[in-house]
Point group: C2
Chain length 432, copies 2
Amino acid sequence: MMKIVKNPPPSSWEQLTKRPALDTAFLEGTINNILSRVRNGGDQAVIQFTKQFDKVEISNLEIPLETIKSAGDQLDDELKPAIQTAAANIRKFHAAQANGLLDMETSPGVQCWRRSVPIEKVGIYIPGGTAPLFSTVLMLAIPANEAGCKEIILCSPPGTDGHIHPAILYAANITGVTRVFRVGGAQAIAAMAYGTESVPKVYKIFGPGNQYVTAAKQKVSQEGIAIDMPAGPSEVAVLADETARPDFIAADLLSQAEHGPDSQVVLVTTSETIASETASELRKQLSRLPRVQVAIKALENSLAVVVPDLETGVDFINAYAPEHLIIACKDDEIVSERIINSGSVFLGNYTPESAGDYASGTNHTLPTNGAARAYSGVSLESFQKKITYQKISAEGLVNLGPVVETMAAAELLEAHKNAVTIRLNAIKSTIS
Amino acid sequence: MMKIVKNPPPSSWEQLTKRPALDTAFLEGTINNILSRVRNGGDQAVIQFTKQFDKVEISNLEIPLETIKSAGDQLDDELKPAIQTAAANIRKFHAAQANGLLDMETSPGVQCWRRSVPIEKVGIYIPGGTAPLFSTVLMLAIPANEAGCKEIILCSPPGTDGHIHPAILYAANITGVTRVFRVGGAQAIAAMAYGTESVPKVYKIFGPGNQYVTAAKQKVSQEGIAIDMPAGPSEVAVLADETARPDFIAADLLSQAEHGPDSQVVLVTTSETIASETASELRKQLSRLPRVQVAIKALENSLAVVVPDLETGVDFINAYAPEHLIIACKDDEIVSERIINSGSVFLGNYTPESAGDYASGTNHTLPTNGAARAYSGVSLESFQKKITYQKISAEGLVNLGPVVETMAAAELLEAHKNAVTIRLNAIKSTIS
């Protein structure tokens, strides 16, 4: 089931680390149609698409505040405190990400500073389906709230009964979401990008979704609406030496594999024994899982790579740039310092990826599909912009002005030069 | 020439702050052709496009290190120290943007931390044309170098003599650019996105360019190559009260207008006198400019808005979200604290935008076209990713594990739950 490759030459790594191509071009017609109909038709178009795709007739899109506030009553007594504990950890880790004010005199009389400012209006998309993804509400709304965003809009598709799962509403209620709408799919992205009578237009859209949601986010990002990051199937890589436990590794690989048939699962190990024992543990544990068919399909793309030493293993991991990386090695901390391409890293035998998915405090919205080479996961900063400022005194301009004049003239931008010259002349005439 | 609008009602602001639509869809065929030919043909395709578009036959793409190192010899004695002073200020302001290590115990036994890691390979595009934009080399290569990027590739089109201007090479040499290629246009973006025999593939591409470059960057960003930000024509807004000087304002508006016929120029003022005097100063100064035709065209889209008070002026500015904002008001610092949507802000009468364009220390690569609502300008962080880490002790998992199990079960993700359960069972059996 899991393909084991021994000591592959570096020349083969690009092929080995390749993800299946995600082509959403064939959706373009459908997406363009949904976007333009919502843009022009507003709420009515959204209501129509909700009937067509979600099979439910609704007359109003917004979930009343009362419903949101009382959603916790419908959750069992274990789940509520679990969500609260996770929320507290996530809040702690994200609150600490606030940047201090940067303020300095770069040269005499030239003061430069920088301020982090919340994005005023943000939108969060939470997929529907059988499982309510309330954990993603925590991961997106908590940093939005900590950043100080004024409007935090949440859209999620209604079930066929017209409702949104109370766990999603409860998570929204305790994290500072300002308004919730029962709208899903590409029409939800369109509503948040363009605004409708009910749904406010936002400046940045976050959250996972199916291929329609992904394609719609990509499309509106071309029109100036910011999005969190490019989306792709979830991935985990495990880097293991002989101290790792095959039963733990197998459990971690399966927790990734149950996400969907296109999930990516890779084991890189210095130990052939670990590779083969993990393969047999996988077979053993798989049979006990409810989502066995999904996991089997995902494991078909899985890979165990046996490497001659940890150094090669680290190089392979950096070439793969996995969303999640588990380092199950004796010297996990030393190894972790050599990782340059990954979204989030889990160290040691007692740190399963699912801890970070829910409750350790780090964010679970992470770059997939190799994007970790250039992208970070969602953080407090994803909900802020940084504005730079400068204030130059008359003396400062007397000092620095000639530098600007010389450079502007060399770039043949005379008016740029003149904006300095006219001021320097005014300063001279005041002095003399 | 400059249209003056008095006390426009807020309902008209959306229309007033609208930029001309940037439609590059008609370029799609051309861009797709260039991208796919470079992807498949490598250097030979690039050389062919260089002949076709840049009208020059070259046999090798890379500029030899010797040429780069000696480029300063061709610059005059004023320009070199000017570039060095600007570079020092820019380096100072960007070096201070480094984030400290974030490291905390979010709950007992659960250690979470975050590290900023340089993007390994980045590409910088510098446009060609009559004026050598060496200032943009400083703005992009300095933060790349400070961030610790290993490969900093620069592409710029050759002139018809096959050369790149020595000021660009000099700026590259003093800022830590690792390799320079004489390639321009969409073929340069393709070469950096896919790699050729000569040009290494990079993970993120920065820099301004014409509509072909912009469209190519947008296209490769859909394919997983990160880009700095969406591009649009440059903009300045001036917020002025009665203490402002119309001759300074006019000089600033013109320095923006000379960038191109599609540049955006807006004056927001509480004083009708300032508005009309600025209009006549514009006419006066315009006649003295070499790029008068370009500036006249840009000023046709320009706008002076007279507002009843500064508060309304600030609201209008936030609705417009300008790339550059000059605050020429008595209480400039107080006013600046209410700005939430702008790329970079210039305070007082002695801080022309051109100071920030070249030498104050802030970055001049900034969000245009209203993108300042959700985007920041380029900074040190644009060249880094943040990787999160977590390490949980056995005791930590005993504490936090049940929270993860409860949440995973509620999301119907049994394998996620099991990755915790299997470890908790192992811990229990060790203890007992």
